[in-house]
């Protein structure tokens, strides 16, 4: 009997989870895709690994110069 009760409780949780998911408001893929593209376009210039560094001097991980000032 305990087994049945716990199975019932588990299934209730699963069904309730699905009810919540079914109630989500959805947006068409065309809209979300254009928003993704828009976000990328707006932030492209800040993306050093995408557009590179304006000069190697601003790259904190550039190779250390072989000359050092003593």
């Amino acid at each position: 009997m305990d087994m049945m009760v716990s199975t019932l409780q588990q299934q209730r949780a699963v069904t309730e989870q699905l009810r919540r998911e079914a109630a989500i408001k959805r947006v068409p893929v065309s809209v979300v895709v254009s928003d993704i593209v828009k976000y990328i376009n707006e932030h492209e210039q800040e993306d050093c690994l995408l557009v590179g560094f304006s000069s190697q001097k601003v790259n904190p991980f550039r190779e250390k110069s072989s000359c050092t000032v003593l």
């Binding site: 699905l18 993306d47 690994l49 991980f61």
Partner: protein
């Protein structure tokens, strides 16, 4: 007896009716998701200008662990990295100079997760000990290990942890199938998150202005989005064919990328409530252990069990760069907080910095 029959007859209460409703809901969900699938991402991306992707070069190599590096995390100061290893050690590194600054011995081997607190003054770590232990870094000559605090205990291994924008709380994922939010000071369990049917492998926090939500991925192949306050899963994505090893929010907060043992990375959009892109190739047959975004969200970085890491063009779905050099599987890829470098950690006992 009569009462029992009445309960069983109530449509809300029988197992059969719940199962029937669940099936109907699943079908409805699939139909709704399909209805809004009016265009593909790669189709839109074809119309965009092509860009030249830079080649990332190896800039630093952090050597010191005796065995597999299982996790690493950048400090908010953009300079230090904490790492954890199978050798039972947690190490703090200065990534600029490639030197080790601190070694903390843990009570057990296989330290599967480590994380920096937002202040940069604490690190958390744990793994096969089923615990999360927090170590203060600042504060005098004392050994951090002497001032450690055990915050959380799970009933199985602790696979992932993060500080949710505060030093005062920690969020963990575990092999016991749960995620949990803990109070660092008191060690009290604040909220438990139960819906995964198997081990939780990965966590990520929504970008800060998105409110209190986070995402988890697990060996039940599911990706779940959680409301931190109520403890309820609010969204689920289950299209992966194997364990989900890594999840990461897009910088916009509207979508997430996942990496799985099915050797595929997938892009799920929260508002469309569905998968919108896949990043895979026939020649890639090994699992994805870790995923990360570039600052703009144009590049998806992924670390694989075939010893490589690579970058994908998130829009076109093409692989644009492969990072070779590691001599064993890549367990973790992570962007520096200012987006200027990518770190990779590997079973070859090294951490490498690429820029």
């Amino acid at each position: 007896m009569a009462a029992d029959t009445a309960v069983a007859a109530s449509p809300e209460e029988t197992l059969e009716s719940l199962l029937r409703e669940a099936e109907a809901l699943k079908q409805k969900l699939e139909e709704e998701r399909q209805k809004l699938n009016d265009v593909s991402l790669s189709c839109v991306a074809e119309r965009l200008e092509t860009i030249a992707f830079p080649n990332l070069k190896l800039r630093r190599m952090l050597k010191g662990h005796q065995s597999k590096v299982l996790c690493s995390d950048w400090s908010p100061d953009k300079r230090h990295i904490v790492s954890s290893s199978q050798d039972g050690k947690v190490m703090v590194w200065d990534a600029f100079t490639a030197t080790k600054e601190l070694t903390i011995a843990m009570p057990s081997t296989w330290v599967m997760a480590c994380a920096y607190a937002p202040s940069g003054n604490l690190v958390a770590a744990g793994g096969l000990d089923n615990k999360v232990t927090v170590f203060p870094l600042a504060g005098g000559e004392d050994e951090p290990a002497a001032r450690k605090r055990t915050v959380a205990t799970h009933t199985s291994y602790m696979s992932c942890c993060l500080f949710p924008n505060t030093d005062r709380q920690i969020l963990t994922g575990s092999g016991d199938g749960t995620c949990a939010l803990w109070d660092v000071e008191s060690g009290q369990l604040l909220q438990s998150f139960q819906a995964h049917a198997a081990d939780v492998m990965a966590l990520d926090l929504a970008p800060s202005d998105m409110g209190d939500t986070f995402v988890s991925g697990g060996c039940d192949r599911a990706v779940l989005v959680w409301d931190m306050r109520t403890g309820q899963a609010v969204q689920a994505f289950d299209t992966h064919d194997s364990d989900v090893n890594s999840v990461k929010y897009h910088p916009s907060g509207d979508s997430l990328v996942t990496g799985s043992d099915d050797s595929c990375c997938r892009l799920f959009d929260l508002r469309a409530d569905r998968e919108v892109a896949r990043y895979s190739k026939e020649s890639i047959i090994f699992g994805v252990n870790s995923v990360e975004w570039s600052v703009s969200g144009r590049l998806v970085f992924a670390g694989y069990s075939d010893y490589t890491a690579c970058a994908w063009d998130a829009l076109r779905g093409a692989r644009v760069c492969v990072l070779c050099g590691h001599e064993h599987r890549v367990t973790r890829v992570q962007l520096a907080p200012d987006g200027t470098a990518l770190s990779t950690a590997s079973w070859d006992a090294t951490i490498r910095i690429w820029a």
